[in-house]
């Protein structure tokens, strides 16, 4: 195909988008919807994941020391934690003395009378440790549990293994569900779009017939439809992105306010910017792929007749 023919046919494809307004709008509309569905699933997943990561990061290993622990044992434990911190396994840690513990207990009871007869001597000292990687809990706890001065099981070392497992399990489910939903949405999108394109090609089958009639090569016939598909893909991606950007911005602002109002301040929607680029890319790639490939497939059916 000569450059000039290519240019001619491409221009043809672009102008077809304008000429067949009805069909172009139909196609763009469906591609936009398909992309929005994809984007919706993606954004929900990203947000849930980000919130869950935050929750995981806040999990702590609690180590309760014997009430009558000696300084040597305490320092050994401290040294162990410091060593692991140096190795990068511990993100941060905190020591709670007997006095701290008593004050906290006091604060948690509304009626101080209830603590009558209790003294700080009866409280246990403790370390609370945030791990860099919560999954490595066992690896960190194993040597610790052998050390002297720590309360016996089951109270000595408290690691919310169960909570972690819940979160991890939930994240796994979420990943699967997201992938499945994305898959379904993609299938639906391709279905809607191939329908639309098939119909537009069907409505223009006479045109294809006439092109063959005057001796147009198959590649000549495909070219305008292909360009048309790509253009529609690009326009759809742009529209979908605009809608997503605006829509998410609005949802982000409103929902974060509402969540804060209702006291769920720990849950927040992530801002759009960091994920925006990914979504732009996704939209344009999928939009153009769907448009281009969709039209090629649809035209082929009519070329074989």
């Amino acid at each position: 195909m000569k450059i000039r023919t290519m240019r001619l046919l491409s221009r043809e494809g672009v102008s077809n988008v304008v000429k067949n307004k009805l069909m172009s709008l139909a196609s763009i509309g469906t591609v936009v919807i398909a992309l929005l569905l994809l984007g919706l699933v993606l954004l929900v997943a990203i947000n849930v994941k980000s919130n869950m990561d935050q929750m995981r990061k806040e999990l702590e290993v609690l180590v309760f020391l014997n009430i009558d622990i000696n300084d040597l044992d305490r320092e050994a434990i401290k040294a162990y934690i410091r060593e692991r911190e140096a190795a990068g396994e511990v993100a941060s840690w905190k020591y709670e003395s007997k006095e701290d513990a008593y004050r906290n207990l006091q604060a948690s009871f509304s009626d101080p009378a209830l603590l009558k007869g209790m003294t700080s001597d009866q409280m246990a000292e403790s370390f609370s440790i945030r791990l860099a990687n919560p999954e490595d809990g066992a690896h960190f706890i194993e040597p610790l549990s052998q050390m002297p001065g720590i309360q016996p099981e089951p109270d000595g070392i408290n690691y919310p293994q169960q909570t972690l497992e819940r979160i991890t399990g939930f994240a796994d489910i979420l990943n699967t569900v997201t992938l499945a939903l994305m898959g379904i949405m993609l299938v639906i999108s391709v279905f809607i779009i191939s329908n639309t394109i098939r119909l537009t090609v069907f409505a223009r089958r006479k045109e294809i017939e006439i092109m063959r009639h005057v001796g147009a090569l198959d590649s000549f016939i495909r070219m305008p439809f292909f360009v048309e598909g790509i253009v529609i893909g690009i326009l759809s991606a742009a529209a979908a992105f605009l809608l997503t950007w605006r829509g998410y911005g609005w949802t982000h602002d409103t929902l974060n306010l509402m969540l804060a109002d209702l006291g769920f301040g720990m849950f927040i929607l992530v801002p759009f910017e960091p994920v925006g680029m990914r979504i732009v890319l996704l939209y344009f790639i999928i939009g153009m792929a769907i448009g281009g490939i969709g039209s090629l497939i649809s035209v082929r059916k009519h070329l074989n007749v």
Binding site: I210, L217, D218
Partner: protein, 228 residues
């Protein structure tokens, strides 16, 4: 140029379009194809352009077996043929000019050539003034002439015309037939299916008569009604 060897075309519903046809049209010849409605004229022409394929026998164009061609060769065959069919087949969203230019663009002619040839072709069929009209804005006869202009514009080796004057008044019909004769003089092989008895009789060209799918006569300087 064009050769039919024992060609039979039976349509899917059992109707016989053409039965055991043998035919040779040499390079530069001019032949009329005549016969009653439904006698197989269009079938014969469609076998040449490969819009239909024969059940048995062989159709050759320029020595090539049309039936045996690959899909991708069909456009190349069509490019060497100028075609005018009964159902006019113009692109509805292009003007007369653009429709004719389109045929040149498809064979990748130079834009300069296109700008020169298209008005010439439209002028030849008497439609110089209708270049900017869309098919829906043209009368039946005018549409037919645009199709003819499109068929001529690439100077095809063979011109296949199926009732090119079906919607034309006698005067215009004569003009068109004379035009085809002229094109033929310049070396193009011309095959015309027609019902114009007056013209066929007057032009004294080769006449191939069909009756119910069979070639019943083939006469140099023949007449519309064949003499047995």
């Amino acid at each position: 140029m064009i050769r039919f060897i024992d060609v039979t075309k039976v349509y899917a519903n059992g109707v016989v379009g053409l039965a055991g046809a043998n035919l040779h049209v040499g390079k530069g010849e001019f032949a009329f194809i005549v016969g009653e409605s439904g006698s197989g004229k269009s079938t014969l022409l469609k076998l040449i352009t490969r819009e239909e394929t024969p059940n048995t026998g062989e159709v050759q164009v320029n020595g090539y077996n049309v039936h045996a061609m690959g899909r991708w060769e069909v456009p190349l065959l069509r490019r060497s043929l100028g075609m005018v069919f009964q159902d006019f087949r113009l692109l509805p969203n292009r003007t007369a000019y653009e429709n004719v230019a389109f045929a040149m663009q498809m064979v990748e002619s130079l834009p300069r050539e296109i700008r020169r040839q298209v008005p010439l072709a439209l002028g030849l069929v008497g439609l110089g003034k209708k270049a900017r009209s869309y098919p829906s804005q043209l009368s039946g006869g005018e549409q037919q002439r645009v199709v003819l202009a499109r068929a001529l514009v690439n100077n095809p080796a063979v011109l296949i015309a199926d009732e090119p004057t079906g919607n034309l008044d006698p005067k215009t019909s004569w003009e068109i037939m004379n035009l085809l004769d002229e094109v033929n003089q310049r070396g193009t092989t011309v095959l015309v299916a027609t019902h114009e008895k007056n013209i066929v009789d007057a032009m004294k060209k080769r006449v191939i008569s069909l009756e119910r799918g069979t070639i019943i006569s083939d006469a140099e300087k023949g007449r519309y009604e064949h003499e047995d």
